[in-house]
Each structure stands twice: as structure tokens, then as C-alpha cells.
């Protein structure tokens, strides 16, 4: 019998794999394709204090081995989430994290005040790294001061597992992660998408209305793997590695280099059943190799 469980904060993940925010919908969309009792869990789409209608089209573009997106955190706001979405989330039996995105300083506290009265989820992933909103959001990720102002005191608001999702676009992410560790965060989700752009040659214009978009998918995997390695060296709390995972080997690479768990995003859009499939494949792999606990794999890279 192999032990594939990892503990992040207070949350036990049966498998060290989560559906990434933005690609897991609100959970229910995954039901048709997955056995929730077999998978680690997922992170919801971003919830914002007020409704966000999202960005104009185009919102997505396929690249060589990747996907650019500029969705813009479309969601109906925290109040709607609690009333209309949370009831269905409660019926899902894997680990569930709420991704919270913030534009102004007090929105995080307001949202958490509302959400802390509810049950049916395991923790929060605070998102200060979305490249697709024009104000707030990612600016908190650009400097340690900004991030500290926003995140100080977050730990006092909840006893649930607290993750911080950071951008690979700023060197500040590493010191912000250390600050989050001191503040009592339980883990760092790294990385969000890479900031890129695309040009319409005929029109000589930017493809995306916001000019920039976030790049994800297999083409970013080597970049994320390196970033996760650097993050692993920067903090002692768990790092959840994200970036271009499409198969079990990719998962293992992230775990070996030091991620305590991984998130799968873009490939979930291609294979909505991938979490269930990889959960089975991980069991098979460990059985075959005689690995009794996932702990033997995590951080096992030979330096």
C-alpha cells in the first residue's frame, strides 16, 4: 500500500495534485469527468469582492505548445458565490480551495469576513498575480511593501489553510513568499502565468485588448520548474508547483525538484479527467517502483 497523501497547512491532499484556479471552473463542471473521492482537489476560479464581468474578446489564443489567456477574473462576486456556488461545492468530497483576488486593500478582509461564516471548503489561495486586470491585482505582487500592506494580518482572519499564489514576472515574489511565511501562510503556489503578448500583423495591433495576456501550457514547464526550485530554496513552507504539467512524468519532475504538490491548469482544459487519470497512474508508478510514501519523492533531487 502506497501513501500518496501530503499535508499542506491543515489540509490533507489524498494525492499531491490539484486542479489550478481558472481551469477548474467552480468544481461542479469537473464532476462529469472525475471521481472526486480519488483526486487531491482543486482551486476555484478567482472570487472578487464585487462582480467582475471579465475582459472583452478575444480571451484566448493558442500558441506553439501553449495557451494565452486574458479572461479577466470573470465572476459574480463573493456574495453570489456564497449564495449560489458554495452549496454545490459542499457536495464535493476532495480538498477545495477558494481563490481570492483583490483590487483594493480592504476587499480581502471583507471577503474573508463573509466566507469565514461558511463551511464547505478547506482553505484560501490569495491571488495577487493575475496578469489580466488593469489595476490592483498584480501590482500587489510587484513590491514587498505593497504585498506586506495587503497581507499583514491575514493569518488572524482564518484558521483554514492559507496559500499565496505568486507571479513569475517579479523578482519580488521570492521575498514576498518569505514575508508570507513569516505571516503564517501555509504554502506558496508558484507560478501563475507568464506575461506575454501577441500581435495582429494585418491590423498592426495587439491581439488582446489589454495588450498583455498570461501564457500557460507545456511551453512554460522548464521556466516554472526552475522557478519552483528557486522558491523551494527561498522558503521552508510547502511550494505548490504549477506550470505546463501534462503527464505523470511532469508531476514527478516538480515533486523531485521540491514541490510538495502540483497544480494542473491548461491540460485540464484539454483532458478534464486528467486529475483522476494521473491519480491512478501515480499509484501504479509508486507500486511498480516500490516507493512507499510520496515523501520519498518530494525534494529528492540530487544537488
Amino acid at each position: 500500500m502506497t501513501d500518496t497523501a501530503v499535508k499542506i497547512g491543515k489540509t490533507i491532499l489524498k494525492k499531491p495534485m490539484l486542479g489550478a484556479s481558472g481551469c477548474s471552473g467552480w468544481g461542479d463542471e469537473l464532476r462529469k469527468f472525475n471521481d472526486f473521492s480519488k483526486i487531491g482537489g482543486f482551486v476555484t476560479k478567482s472570487i472578487t469582492y464585487r462582480e467582475k464581468i471579465g475582459n472583452e474578446m478575444p480571451r484566448i489564443m493558442e500558441t506553439c505548445g501553449g495557451l494565452m489567456n486574458s479572461i479577466g477574473l470573470e465572476n459574480k462576486g463573493a456574495e453570489y458565490f456564497i449564495k449560489e456556488v458554495l452549496p454545490s461545492l459542499k457536495r464535493i468530497e476532495c480538498a477545495k480551495f477558494l481563490n481570492l483576488a483583490v483590487f483594493e486593500g480592504d476587499e480581502l478582509q471583507k471577503m474573508m469576513d463573509m466566507l469565514e461564516r461558511e463551511d464547505g471548503f478547506d482553505g484560501y489561495e490569495i491571488n495577487i498575480s493575475c496578469p489580466n486586470v488593469t489595476h490592483g491585482g498584480i501590482s500587489f505582487n510587484s513590491s514587498l511593501d505593497e504585498a506586506t500592506k495587503l497581507l499583514k494580518g491575514t493569518r488572524k482572519m482564518t484558521e483554514r489553510t492559507l496559500l499565496l499564489k505568486l507571479s513569475p514576472a517579479f523578482e519580488a515574489s521570492f521575498e514576498i513568499a518569505r514575508m508570507a511565511q513569516e505571516e503564517g501562510f501555509d504554502g506558496i503556489t508558484f507560478t501563475n502565468t507568464y506575461i506575454g503578448t501577441a500581435v495582429d500583423v494585418e491590423k498592426r495591433s495587439f491581439i488582446f485588448k489589454n495588450r498583455q495576456a498570461g501564457l500557460s501550457g507545456p511551453s512554460i514547464k522548464p521556466l516554472s520548474l526552475m522557478n519552483v526550485y528557486k522558491m523551494r530554496k527561498s522558503v521552508s513552507i510547502p511550494v505548490i508547483g504549477v506550470g505546463g504539467i501534462t503527464n505523470l512524468r511532469d508531476v514527478l519532475e516538480f515533486l523531485i525538484i521540491g514541490a510538495s504538490a502540483v497544480q494542473i491548469g491548461t491540460q485540464l482544459l484539454v483532458e478534464p479527467d486528467i486529475l483522476t487519470r494521473l491519480s491512478g497512474e501515480l499509484d501504479e508508478y509508486m507500486n511498480e517502483k516500490g516507493i512507499r510514501s510520496i515523501v520519498e519523492i518530494i525534494g529528492s533531487i540530487k544537488e
Binding site: G25, G54, R59, E62, N69, V270, E271, P272
Partner: protein
Amino acid sequence: MKSILLNKKAISENLALMTFSREGCEKILPGQFLSIRQTAGEKILRRPFSIFGFDDKSVSVLIKAIGRGTESITDMNEGESADILCPLGKGFEEKIDYDRTLFVAGGIGIAGINSFIAKGKKAKMIFGDREGEFSAAADYFSIDCLYVSEKGKNPNRGRVTEFIDGFEFDAIIACGPKAMLRAVKEKANGRRYLAVCEEIMACGVGLCNGCAVKYDDNTFKKVCIDGPVLDGNRIIYD
């Protein structure tokens, strides 16, 4: 879901009718679509296609190959298997009054309209293309319609919307390029108008919010799970 390519029929140079086995594919309704995992190495996303036709054992799609992703699908050989998610999208469940409904299809939009025409029903339809590139399709499927072209040898010359006033109808169901859908809205002139929408999609199953269409109240609808059949009178066609 693994499906087998049962039959491939080249209709014209880059247009193919592909019929797959229907394993695990639940009840299909008009307006629904399916997605096929393409195999061009550098591309990653599935490709969505309107369900053109179906019976108990098979489901068919009409594919216009426009790039390496779609070519990797039309290059498949009969007997090979493909990874298909089917059916996707909200189907159209209402009973259609064929005497009072006008169908309008532009180009490959015919693929989104065909499933609305129940077997043996006589429908009023305008099917248009640019310069006759869909004449082989119109012939092959014996589509009972007014077939028009903007240029070329077709004696019915003009855009589909120029022919709409010649029909009597209470409702329009249309599928085609955005400019056509926009022009149809004017011709519907307040009458019921259902647009069968096509958008670039990442997931096709409601996970990503990538395939959004804007309504007049400044909200977005997802083509993949709120549509593809949406209220054509309320869409903002930018």
C-alpha cells in the same frame, strides 16, 4: 472518450464529413457540438465542431480544415480512434415550427444548422457562401435550400441577408460568420432570432470562460455551456 472514425468523405478540397462511432455519447439535441483532441504536435487544445448529423450508432461532423490542428483530424484514416467529448453545449429542446422558422447558414455555418432539420421535414433555408466553395456540399447533402453566393457562377447572387425579405417567418435560426449574424439581427427586426454561435474555445466544458459572447446588458454568456444557441437579438457583435 475513444471513438472510431467509421467513415471519411472528402466533400471538396478542404471540407470533409467525418463520421465517428458514438460510444458513451448520451442523447444529442440540435445545436450541440463535440470536441476532438487534435494531434498536431505543437498545438494543444481540442477543436470544437457542430454536430452535423447523428444516428443511434454514429455522430458526424463537417470539418473545414484551416490549420494544422484541424488538418491533423481530417488526415485521420478510417478505423483510427480519436479522443472525443460528446455531446457538449446546451441543446435546443423546443419543438420547431418549420412553417414559421427561417434557417440561415453562412459557409461552414451549415454544420451548425443541419442538425435542426429533422428527417423528412421541409425547412425554409438560405445557405450562402462567398464564391461557390460550398456548392459541392450543397449538392452532396441535397440540402433543400436557397443556395446563394456573393460572387461566381451561382445565379442567386448576393449575401444571405439580401434574400431574407423574400421569406415569411416568425423566427430565424442562423449560424455563420459574426458579420453575417450581425446583419441577420437587423433583418429579424424584432422577431425571434436564435444565433448558433461559434467561438474559439479552450475547454468547451465551462471550465475556463474563454468563449464569451457579450449581451446587451453587459454580461457575458459562455458559448460552450450557456450556448451555442443564444439570443441573437441580445448579442453585441463587435
